[in-house]
Structures are given as structure tokens and as C-alpha cells.
């Protein structure tokens, strides 16, 4: 027990830095993954066939391949496709690596969010669309004011699970040298020659983060149960 506390105290700066990176990566992934997930869901339900086709292939491909492969594909693939993210250091954080890690995770979570959002929207009775359109509401307003709020009720629990998955999955970007929590555990193991302590500490930190997210989401869900 003492040894755990010693490691935690001794390397607290490293651990906090790692947690910060994990939080930053997760936050950006959740935000943009949600935005693109909604857009992808709209494409998947679009009347325009190429949109539907693209969304289908995209979702199938991403869900059918390991996230680790996707991370490497983005990391090595982008420069090969001529997309150079300029090497940029902010303090001791390598921004270009961070960006390609976030990008890979966003690409990944977009596919899962797409399915969650689509299922939620389609679970809303079609009569709701009819009722709204028949009043003269525009298709956009029908979606945003009538369908989406109702879909949210079905979407929120699954979305919460996905957010937690993102936080855990984000540990995989340590493979491209992003100094997140997982990477920090490796670092500490290397300098302290203790394999267990940093891993357990990091596990606890991950757990605290995901529990906080769960708590917040449960509160929001309760709030939405007014009708």
C-alpha cells in the first residue's frame, strides 16, 4: 500500500500531465465525434443515394477494423497522403501527434455515434414527422425541434456508454507516443522499475474519470425524463 502511495506522490506531476492529455483527447473526441456522428447519421438517412452509400461503407469499415489499426493508419497515412501536420510543440506536448491521435479517435467514434443517433432518430414514430410537416413546419425545424428532442431520450444512454468507451479507447493512442495516462504508466514503470504500481494508479484514475462522466450523464438523463 505504501509503495503505491509513494509512486503516486513521487510521479504526481507526470500522472497529472497524463490525465490532462487523456481528458483533452477525450473531450475533443467526444465533441467532434458527436458532431460528425450526427452529420453522418443525417447522411445515412438522406434521400441522396451517394451520401447514404458513403455513410454505410464508412460505418461498416470503421466498425469492422481495430482502432489500433486506425490509429496507425492515420498516423502514418496522413503524411503519405501529403497531409503534413506541422511539427509543433506546446510545452512538452507534441501537438502534431496529439492531433493525429484525436483525429483517429474522432474517425472511430463518428461511426459508432452515427449508429446511435440514427437508431435514436428512427425510433421516433414517423407520425411525429408527419404531424410537424402537416402544420407547415420546415423539415429542418421538424428535425431539430420535434424529432431530435424525442430521439435524445433514446440516444442519451447509449451515447453515455460511447463516451466512456472513448475515454478507455483513448489509452491506445499512447502507441504513437502521445503522453496520455497510459503512456505515463509506461514511463513510470521504466524509471521506477515497478510494473504494478503505476498500472494500478492509472487504472484508478481512469475509473474516477469514467465514473464522473457516468454521474453527470445520469443527472442529465433524469432531467430529460420530464415527459
Amino acid at each position: 500500500m505504501n509503495s503505491f502511495i509513494n509512486v503516486a506522490v513521487k510521479y504526481r506531476a507526470l500522472l497529472l500531465g497524463g490525465a490532462k492529455i487523456t481528458l483533452i483527447v477525450s473531450a475533443f473526441t467526444i465533441l467532434f465525434g458527436l458532431i460528425f456522428g450526427i452529420l453522418m447519421a443525417l447522411m445515412k438517412m438522406s434521400k441522396i443515394r451517394p451520401f447514404r452509400y458513403f455513410a454505410n461503407v464508412y460505418v461498416e469499415f470503421i466498425r469492422g477494423t481495430p482502432v489500433l489499426v486506425q490509429i496507425f493508419l492515420v498516423y502514418y497515412g496522413l503524411p503519405m497522403m501529403g497531409v503534413e501536420i506541422p511539427s509543433l510543440m506546446l510545452g512538452d506536448v507534441d501537438i502534431s501527434r496529439l492531433l493525429s491521435g484525436i483525429l483517429a479517435l474522432v474517425i472511430n467514434s463518428t461511426a459508432y455515434n452515427c449508429e446511435i443517433v440514427r437508431a435514436g432518430i428512427q425510433s421516433v414514430n414517423h407520425g411525429q414527422t408527419e404531424g410537424a410537416l402537416a402544420l407547415g413546419l420546415s423539415p429542418v425545424r421538424t428535425m431539430t425541434a420535434i424529432i431530435f428532442p424525442q430521439a435524445m431520450k433514446n440516444i442519451l444512454p447509449s451515447l453515455g456508454n460511447e463516451f466512456i468507451t472513448i475515454i478507455k479507447t483513448s489509452s491506445q493512442i499512447s502507441v504513437i507516443g502521445i503522453a496520455d495516462l497510459m503512456y505515463t504508466a509506461d514511463t513510470i514503470r521504466g524509471i521506477s522499475f515497478k510494473p504494478m504500481e503505476p498500472l494500478v494508479i492509472v487504472a484508478i484514475i481512469y475509473f474516477i474519470i469514467t465514473e464522473c462522466i457516468s454521474f453527470i450523464l445520469r443527472r442529465i438523463e433524469k432531467r430529460m425524463k420530464v415527459y
Partner: protein, 245 residues
């Protein structure tokens, strides 16, 4: 009733779903204040016909003229739908909005009616359908009959010129049919122009000015309730009525 002006002129209206021909050259004139009951067997195209009138369905051919403008060519479908209201079999109230908000939402967003005014007229409408005490509740807490009356109030709040009803009482328990039909009867006496798809032959006979019998995508018989219910020579109409009465 004196002949009033024709506000809706339908000519040669056709509608196909791929190869399935659902509406086959329908003609109909609707005069202001008229109540037209549309009856006929299942699958004859009654719902499709109504849905074409308020542009919920794209027509395949022919024309629908509303106050001289072609609905078919009209770009602004929202405007048409605001003028031609619709009441559905399954009410389609918005469950995440209170009864009051269900009624005020569209007028406030589309007609830009100030909230106070919208709520005042919503309360008036609720009084007319006998539900003034339900303004603050969510639709799920209401019975089917009450929900349908709210749906009628919601459609009326847009002050439409024509109100379409697609089997408004078919999803209701028998004991609730009466309360909805009564609201519709009262509405008919106020001069509202109404097209009502219904299986309630009593309503068609007593309240409608005209009855249209639809079969296989055509209006096979059209006339006063007396003409259609009592004087028809058409065997299909007779067979249908025998089954219904």
C-alpha cells in the same frame, strides 16, 4: 346552402407508387364552407388523396389548384400546409410539449404570432373542444378522445382554410368516438371547409354536404348524402354500404 366560391379545384389527379397506380384521374371541386365526407373500402386511396392535397405526397399527374395557385408546382410546400391543416388517425401530438405548447408552437414559429396572443387563442380553442383545464399537461396523460380534440385544436390554431381529417375516430375506443365527432360537427356549423375520410356513416349522412365514394383510386360516386346513401344505382356503392350499415 347557397353556392359559395370554389377554393380547391382538383383535375385529373393521378398518383403512382412505382408501377402501382393508386389515384386514377380524380376530379373534385371544394367550395368554401363545404363538408365533404370521403368513404370507401380500405386501400381505395383515400389517405393518399388527402395527402396529395396538402402536399405531403408528390402527385404524379394532374393539377390541384388552391385559390388559383397550383399546389403541384408550388415551391413553398410549408405555406400550403399552413393553409390546409390535417388531423390524423393517431393524433401525432408532440409528447415532449405540453398541450398548450402543442397548440401554440406552429403559430408562433410560422405565423410569428406573439406568445401572449398565441396562448390566448389556444385557450379559446381548448375551451371550444372542452379541454380548457388540460392546457398544462403532457399529451400522454390524456385519453385518445382528448388527444384527438387537442389535435383538432392544434390544427385550428394555424387558422387553416381547409381542414383534412384522415379517419379521426378510427383509433379511438368506441365510447370516445362521440366526443370527437361532436367537436367536428360543431366545427362544421362554423363554416369550416372540411374533407373527412371516415367510416362513420352516420356522420357522413348527417353532417356532410357532399359524399364522395372512392374505389380503386377513383371517385365512383359523388353527390349529396341522400344521392349517395339512398338513390345510388352503383352496385359497388350499394355493396359497400350494406357492409358498413
Amino acid at each position: 346552402m347557397a353556392e359559395t366560391e370554389v377554393i380547391l379545384t382538383i383535375r385529373n389527379l393521378t398518383k403512382n407508387y412505382n408501377t402501382l397506380s393508386v389515384l386514377k384521374k380524380i376530379d373534385l371541386d371544394v367550395r368554401k364552407g363545404e363538408v365533404i365526407a370521403i368513404i370507401g373500402p380500405s386501400g381505395s386511396g383515400k389517405s393518399t388523396f388527402l395527402r396529395c392535397i396538402n402536399a405531403m405526397e408528390q402527385v404524379s399527374g394532374g393539377s390541384i389548384e388552391f385559390h388559383g395557385t397550383q399546389i403541384v408546382k408550388q415551391k413553398n410546400l410549408q405555406q400550403i400546409r399552413a393553409e390546409i391543416g390535417m388531423v390524423f388517425q393517431h393524433f401525432n401530438l408532440f409528447p415532449h410539449m405540453t398541450v398548450l405548447k402543442n397548440i401554440t408552437y406552429a403559430p408562433m414559429k410560422i405565423r410569428k404570432t406573439p406568445r401572449e396572443e398565441a396562448e390566448k387563442s389556444a385557450m379559446e380553442l381548448l375551451r371550444k373542444v372542452g379541454l380548457e383545464d388540460k392546457s398544462g399537461v403532457y399529451p400522454d396523460t390524456l385519453s385518445g378522445g382528448q388527444q384527438q380534440r387537442v389535435a383538432i385544436a392544434r390544427a385550428l390554431a394555424m387558422k387553416p382554410e381547409i381542414l383534412l381529417f384522415d379517419e379521426p375516430t378510427s383509433a379511438l375506443d368506441p365510447e370516445m368516438v362521440g366526443e370527437v365527432l361532436n367537436v367536428m360537427k360543431k366545427l362544421a356549423t362554423t363554416g369550416m371547409t372540411m374533407l373527412v375520410v371516415t367510416h362513420e356513416m352516420g356522420f357522413a349522412r348527417e353532417v356532410a354536404d357532399k359524399v364522395a365514394f372512392m374505389d380503386e383510386g377513383r371517385i365512383m360516386e359523388y353527390g349529396s348524402p341522400k344521392q349517395v346513401f339512398e338513390e345510388t344505382e352503383n352496385e359497388r356503392v350499394k355493396a359497400f354500404l350494406r357492409k358498413m350499415l
